[in-house]
Amino acid sequence: MKGSIGRINEWFHRNGIFLKAFGVTFSSVVLVAVLITVSTLRLSIDYFMETFTITNERIVNQSKERFEYYSNVVLDTIYSTENNVRIKRAIIEEQASSVLHASAFYDVVNELEQIHARLQPESADLVLMGENGALYNMNYAYWPVSSGYLQGLDFTKQLSLNPGMIQYASIGPDEAGGERVIVAGKAFKERSSERIYAYIYIVIRESDIRRFYEGYTSEENIMLLMNRNGEILSSNRTDWIGDEDAAAAAIFGGEAGTSGNVPAATVKGQPYQLLYEYIPVLDIYLVNLVDRMSIASQLVNMQELVLIVAWIVLIATILSWLTTRHITLPLTRLVQQIDTLTRHHFKKPLKEEGGYESVQIARAFNNTLEELNQYIQVVVASQKKQKEAELQALQHQINPHFLYNTLTTVKFMVDKGDADKAIETIHALTGLLQNTLGDISETVTVEKELSYTRDYVLINQARYGDRIQVNYFIDEQCRNCLVPKLFLQPMIENAFFHGFNRKKAGYIQIMVYRTQQQLICEVADDGDGMDMEKGWTQHAQEGRKGLLKGIGIRNVQERIALMYGDGYGVAFDSAPGRGTKVKVTLPLLEAEPKQFQPEKT
């Protein structure tokens, strides 16, 4: 768990560039999409509502004109009926006989039919009730009423209270015995006696009056007729008809002859934009309600819009992911490769991949790396060459004192007549010189190195006597291993000349053995020893008595380091009075069979 969190953290860390670039692009896309959507939505809805309102004002006005036209027809009908002498006479005059009576009835209907002809296109019915209860209903199917019903109607009483005034009423479905109707009525009275002789009713069914405005309406665009009390007389929302909404009526403020636009009105508990227009003749308000929300939701297909925006965001996100990834991934990989470069010792070139820029960067990096490596190689090679030259030069610098001393020793031997010993010493010297001067290879086998060492020891013993004994402990398996040439000689020399200054006799033990991967050579003496705190270098300098000028223990140390690197070299262990032990650690390298052959001289 922790590991995975760590890995995720690492991923985040490694892909920082990508995440930043992608994050900026992504949030910009989302922000732009949302802002543009919201602002265009609001803009378009506002614009639409503006035009919608203008249109609706026209519609309301047109509907109003339609109502006014209807009310004019109604007025006209009522006045024509009232002023028709034949009708008046037929109703008022007592008919002496059935024939006259029939003729009177005929006259009234005949006249009414002509008057009704104007009303007929409006689908309105004309009903005339005489004082004697005679009823003339021009379209019985529209309003099937009897005179008894009309006489009991509240509206009739209202008409009788105000004769001479045209009044309007809406009669609900219960009272009308069918569909809701809107009735205009007037009581006709005799001028002379103030007696009411007839009532006229112009009836239109709610469904017919609805036709005046229904064509303009929809579920969200509601029209209704409302009287002063807020009673809804007609509406395309048929379920509202007959309901009362006094709160809505309060909007009109009881002012007659006004019109208005209330952007946020509450009708039937719902918010609407309300337009109203007063229709003076009918004394009602024509109200237009617009359900902004649902119009807007119809105007804009929210689902589709959200889908489109989501698609745009998705596509933009994918594209930006891909391109950002395309740009930053090679960079990230480059960085990763550079991070791991040390592990490969700056040897492994970077992969040149990705976009143009990253390829160029990788190429430049690789070129630099290559040149650097070349340069290093040159430096290393030249250093090696220098060391070799140095070694060669040193090899050639045989100490004249050594030669002189050795030759003097031989002379004494000859003088003493010890010819065998002299020849032996001369042999050792020639072998030593041959090896020292002749062989220029850097490494030799342990066998060979030991042969110089023996020659050298022999010479030293010849010169200084046998008081210092040298013992060899050689692991036979090591004889064929390669070692730096002449690396033992300085240590033996060191032991001979510095180890036995106070102590005059002793032993030098030379051990060569191998471990798993290393070849260990130890040169231990039981001589004076030295104070390690002062450092071994003071003893390691070239003495005048040495074989070779310049080849000392320091030189051996440097050569081993140069040849084999860290982890190999010379270690001292010494204490005054306890002798000195020098331990040389070398890599275990076997000579190839070829090198087994005797080397050229």
Binding site: T40, L43, S97, Y106, S146, N301
Partner: protein, 436 residues
């Protein structure tokens, strides 16, 4: 500001197609809902227009329940005022496009010939679907044209004289005295009844010529010659006799005049009149006044004292017509299976709606043989059906209502004292002018 507007318009134009697309969809829906024969749902949609929810629309609903035909029919009944149906048929048929018209339409018999003559190809002949001999003779006459039967006869307007037994008894008369009388005898009885009870004999509307049409058919006559288009007024003895009877009734002061339907119904419901001479369809209205139960009887209509005058007639009634457009086979099959052959259905029709059909096998069922306590146990339906068989077949012609209007005016003149021959000649001249 201009830019913002531009963006808004751009957005609108992008969004509008989606909106308008929706709208057209709903329009298409509305169109198919109205139905012009295109099948929706399981069966063929058959649209039918009728006008009375308590009578002919109810009959259609019962027919749908009774239908057991092979073709699956999805009946869609649309209620329209009769005047609207007539107007719409005329508008659509005269423009030559039956689009928007139903498959089945109910047409009043008086108007049928006018449609059949004016638009001979608009209707689908039912001759092969029904047996004309199974229907009342006068109905087949009214629904046929050029030897083909176009209408499936629905209800009969067979007439009778509804009489108040109590008023007759008060005048010392019996129902028997009112049976098979002439109009003259009727007037004489009327005077007696008025004298005894103070009640009028009948209620008439001077603007409604139902009464005249009823009487003219009882004599086997009509406003036209047999061709249905030549006015026959001036020398129509039956019509002249009707005018005389009309005037005599008014002169005898036995008529309670009414000016509209409500007053007509009120006249007998309130007990103001002793008789009601009219079509059988008034039965429910008569029975509506339950307090008069047992007081009413139905006897045969008085006859005219002219050649061929009978004690039977017809008033109103209508028939089903199939329009000659897609779905006509299904519509015809539907009608033939129900109104055209289903005997049980006619019993249901009478029991449920009170409608007397004109399908002879159908009106012989048990329902027609039942006695009615409101009419003192009289088997009125069986009486009506027996009279129906004798109704004289006449050609109603093409302009019955136009002649009505002319005659109303002339009737007034006659009532006011003009010579009968003169007013008839005037009516003839007007009719010829109008129908030319």
């Amino acid at each position: 500001m201009k830019k913002r507007l531009f963006i808004a318009i751009l957005l609108l134009t992008m969004l509008l197609p989606a909106c308008s697309g929706k709208k057209t969809e709903t329009n298409a829906d509305a169109g198919s809902a109205k139905g012009d024969g295109a099948g929706t749902g399981a069966g063929t949609t058959v649209t039918a227009w009728a006008w009375d929810p308590n009578f002919n629309i109810r009959a259609l609903e019962l027919a749908e329940e009774a239908y057991k035909g092979e073709i699956a029919v999805n009946l869609e009944i649309v209620e329209n005022a009769q005047s609207d149906i007539v107007q719409r048929l005329n508008t659509a048929l005269s423009s030559g496009t039956p689009k928007g018209l139903p498959n089945i339409v109910l047409i009043e018999d008086y108007r049928a010939q006018s449609f059949l003559k004016s638009y001979p190809d608009a209707f689908y002949p039912l001759t092969g679907h029904i047996d004309a001999d199974d229907f009342a003779n006068y109905k087949i006459e009214a629904t046929s044209h050029d030897g083909e039967v176009y209408g499936l006869p629905f209800d009969t307007g067979v007439t009778g004289l509804y009489v108040r037994v109590d008023y007759l008894e008060a005048a010392g008369l019996t129902v028997g005295d009112m049976t098979n009388v002439t109009w003259q005898e009727y007037i004489a009885i009327g005077k007696q009844v008025k004298e005894a009870t103070g009640k009028q004999m009948l209620s008439l509307n001077p603007n409604d010529f139902n009464f005249v049409r009823m009487m003219v058919q009882s004599a086997g006559q009509w406003y036209f010659e047999e061709d249905g288009s030549t006015p026959n007024l001036e020398h129509n003895e039956a019509l002249k006799e009707i005018f005389r009877v009309y005037k005599a009734m008014l002169d005898a002061d036995i008529v309670k005049l009414n000016s509209d339907w409500s007053q007509f119904v009120a006249a007998f419901n309130s007990g103001d009149v002793a008789t009601v001479p009219t079509g059988n369809w008034i039965t429910p209205s008569v029975k509506a006044e339950a307090s008069q139960a047992g007081q009413w009887r139905v006897v045969s209509l008085p006859r005219l004292q002219t050649e061929g005058g009978l004690n039977v007639s017809n008033l109103g009634g209508s028939s089903w017509y199939v329009l000659n457009q897609d779905g006509k086979e299904a519509a015809a099959a539907f009608l033939a299976d129900t109104f055209g052959s289903n005997v049980d259905f006619y019993n249901t029709l009478l029991a449920d709606v009170g409608a007397i059909g004109t399908y002879k096998p159908g009106i012989a069922g048990d329902a027609f043989d039942q006695s009615d306590d409101f009419f003192g146990g009289q088997k009125i339906y069986s009486d009506f059906t027996s009279w129906m068989a004798d109704i004289p077949a006449v050609n109603y012609g093409i302009h019955t209502y136009a002649i009505d209007d002319i005659l109303k005016v002339e009737m007034q003149k006659y009532l006011k004292g003009e010579d009968l021959d003169t007013v008839m000649a005037s009516a003839q001249a007007q009719a010829e002018m109008q129908l030319r």
